[in-house]
């Protein structure tokens, strides 16, 4: 073996995915803030269709979920699967194709939404050409990820890889079945499902996109990066594996709770409600596992801003995974559905859980990949408090708005007529929406600080060369020592 053929982890693609993820986080949140402003001042669309709420709202959700979220998941999956398998990425060129291909889809997909191309399915608005491109790129992602696992030198497949693997398989299944459609023109297709079946398939997709992507995928992130940051083994590895299978089995049934009091069979609604309630057990098992792991690493809090984000992310994960099942109860849902309470719930998860855990992971990963300390720990600490304040303000504003809306819409006079019109109710929302705009600006400011901090840390540098550490090859039963040949130093 010579220097050209040595085995090293492929972190260049991880770095590029992190950069794209940061870019989409800033862009997606900026669009979110603009949307919040439009709800206060509708004239901000300047009479342009492409700036209307209906077009830029899916741009915000798709940009955050697929741009920021999926890029972060790909980055962390590629980073951790190499280290937990003790081998470099399988087919690294394919990993680069996946990385750039995904960004092209997010960019042009976003522009197509502005142009008015839409399938009208929530979180699956992109039209059929993009759906096909996503399928191909997702298969590439799967080949790289599972190929690396197949080549592993560690016998056991670490729990984070189970969650990432679950994400890849289930999202592929959901994406393909939900987007089965008959194309009519380049920008329009019609779903092969109709009526109530279409709704059931859509929310089977929609809820499990939340489940397996925004929850399961990010749990993969937690199970690798939390023990690394805390420098502690997971509190209970057995609990983590049990919670994975319980989570995977239960989540897939919970979708119908999005269709309470709709024209789907009542037993389907009840099934969705019961499964949502059961889901609390595996969700909280993971939270307890995380909190107990981090509780032993308190000494690191003074020097590691990343750990603070993780602690807070776990608290908001606990809140969101409790609130979700509660809102799935039909008698609560009748008040919360179609109100801003739902928006608040989504953002307690998206800001408090997904964004915080990603920020914590990036603050951990970037300095290690670049081989230099974080540009500014102080900026990271300021970011932490901005993120916490922004999230709490957002959630409280939406709780207030949602409960008011729910109660006002259900109010009737003696004749059984609605006491308040839709416009009356919406007009009374102005103060809450103003508070939400402020909260969004605070959170966005924190994200911009992080972008500056991390890009300064990365500026002008290549990722450090990391070779797989010396282990006994548990699959082949032989010793494997790449360092002996090249004398490399293990840095991560």
């Amino acid at each position: 073996m010579n220097l050209e053929t040595r085995e090293v982890y492929h972190d260049g693609v991880v770095k590029r995915l992190v950069q794209f993820s940061i870019l989409w986080a800033v862009v997606g949140m900026l669009v979110g803030v603009y949307l919040a402003a439009e709800l206060l001042w509708p004239g901000l669309d300047f009479g342009q269709y492409w700036l209307s709420f209906g077009r830029i709202r899916p741009l915000h959700t798709n940009g955050i979920i697929f741009g920021f979220g999926v890029s972060a998941l790909m980055a962390t999956a590629f980073y951790s699967v190499q280290r937990t398998s003790n081998v470099p990425l399988f087919m690294p060129r394919l990993a680069w194709i996946t990385c750039y291909g995904w960004q092209v889809v997010v960019l042009f997909g976003g522009l197509s939404l502005l142009a008015g191309w839409t399938s009208t399915k929530e979180y699956a608005e992109l039209e059929w050409p993009f759906d096909i491109a996503i399928t191909i790129l997702w298969v590439c992602f799967a080949v790289v990820f599972f190929g690396t696992i197949a080549n592993r030198r560690i016998k056991n497949i670490y729990v984070s890889n189970w969650f990432y693997g679950g994400l890849i398989i289930v999202i592929a299944m959901l994406h393909i079945f939900n987007n089965l459609a008959i194309p009519v023109t380049i920008d329009k297709s019609y779903s092969i499902y109709a009526g109530a079946q279409d709704a059931i398939i859509q929310w089977w997709y929609g809820h499990n996109a939340v489940g397996f992507l925004l929850t399961g995928g990010f749990l993969g992130m937690v199970y690798y990066f939390l023990p690394k940051q805390a420098n502690q083994p997971i509190w209970s590895y057995r609990l983590s594996v049990v919670s994975f299978w319980a989570f995977t089995y239960t989540y897939i049934w919970a979708g119908p709770h999005h269709l309470h009091y709709n024209s789907i069979p009542e037993w389907v609604q009840s099934l969705g409600m019961v499964m949502s309630l059961i889901l609390l057990a595996p969700s909280w098992a993971t939270m307890i596992n995380g909190i107990m792991t981090v509780s032993k690493a308190w000494r690191k809090l003074t020097v590691d801003p990343a750990l603070k984000f993780i602690v807070l992310a776990l608290a908001f994960y606990g809140l969101a995974t409790f609130e979700g099942p509660m809102m799935a109860i039909r008698s609560v849902n009748i008040i919360s559905h179609f109100t801003d309470w739902t928006i608040g719930h989504v953002h307690s998860g998206a800001l408090g859980w997904n964004a915080m855990i990603t920020y914590g992971t990036f603050y951990f990963m970037v300095p290690r990949m670049m081989g230099k300390p974080l540009h500014s720990v102080r900026l990271a600490n300021i970011h932490f408090w901005l993120a916490l304040t922004g999230t709490i303000l957002y959630v409280i504003a939406m709780w207030g708005a949602g409960v008011s809306q729910g109660l006002l819409w259900l109010s009737m006079d003696d004749l059984g007529e609605l006491s308040y019109s839709f416009t009356d109710v919406m007009a009374s929302m102005v103060p809450y929406y103003a508070l939400r705009l402020i909260a969004g600006l605070i959170f966005l400011t924190g994200t911009i600080l992080m972008a500056y901090n991390l890009l300064r840390t990365m500026y002008g540098l290549h990722t450090v060369t990391v070779v797989p550490p010396d282990v006994i090859d548990e699959i082949k039963g032989t010793a494997h020592n790449p360092n002996a040949v090249m004398g490399g130093e293990v840095t991560a």
Binding site: I291, M292, V294, S295, W298, R299, K300, L301, T302, K308, V311, L312, L314, A315, F316, G318, L319, F322, E323, M326, M327, I329, S331, V332, I334, I335, S336, T389, I392, L393, I396, A397, W399, G400, V403, S404, G406, L407, L408, L410, S411, D413, D414, S419, Y420, D424, V425, A427, S428, M429, P431, Y432, L435
Partner: protein
């Protein structure tokens, strides 16, 4: 004592931590007064001005409904206060504060709750958004007191205190949202106040 709690909470925390029975007793007596403020203010406000949810005319409830709402409000506060102390007592084993007495914890959480109870004077004018605006700063103040005071009272390093405080914030958020869900469910089942039109 109320002035000391609001003006110099740090010294009150230190006295609680040192087991000063005089201060702990005084703070505990304060609890009974403070915890009754929000329901009493809510009762007065709803009687005088009605509930303003933001749209149209204010909602007025009959006298019995107002008393029942205030009664359950007080119950929820007392239950929340006691359960938070007990949960903190339970969590203390994980975070190295097993030597703290339950009396000290009761006194500590009274100090933490003080800004919220005082700010509940906003209930005198029960307009939801006005209350949100007044209660948010008091909530942030209470959270600051929790993070600052907990390691002092528990006699643990600030880093461990930060972890335990975050766990307690998680519990409080869950408790609050449970109350929200329970109220919504009861309202749906018709177990709610009668509105006087």
């Amino acid at each position: 004592m109320l002035f000391s709690v609001l003006n110099s909470p740090s010294s009150v925390f230190e006295k609680i931590a040192s087991g000063n029975s005089e201060v702990i007793g005084a703070v505990q007596r304060l609890t009974f007064f403070l915890i009754l403020l929000p329901p009493v203010f809510a009762w007065i406000g709803s009687t005088l001005f009605g509930w303003r949810l933001g749209g149209g005319d204010p909602l007025y409830f009959d006298a019995t409904a107002r008393v029942i709402i205030s009664f359950f409000y007080a119950d929820a506060l007392i239950l929340g206060y006691i359960s938070t102390v007990l949960i903190a007592r339970w969590m203390a084993h994980t975070y190295g504060g097993e030597n703290v007495s339950t009396e000290s914890l009761f006194a500590f959480f009274t100090v933490v709750l003080t800004p919220i109870c005082i700010a509940s004077a906003a209930h005198l004018y029960p307009h939801i958004f006005f209350n949100v605006l007044v209660l948010i700063p008091s909530l942030l103040w209470a959270i600051t007191l929790l993070y600052r005071g907990l390691p002092v009272v528990m006699k643990i390093p600030p880093e461990r205190g930060m972890l335990m405080s975050s766990s307690l914030v998680g519990w409080l958020l869950v408790a609050f949202v449970s109350l929200l869900g329970l109220s919504a469910a009861l309202w749906t089942y018709g177990i709610g106040p009668n509105v006087v039109v």
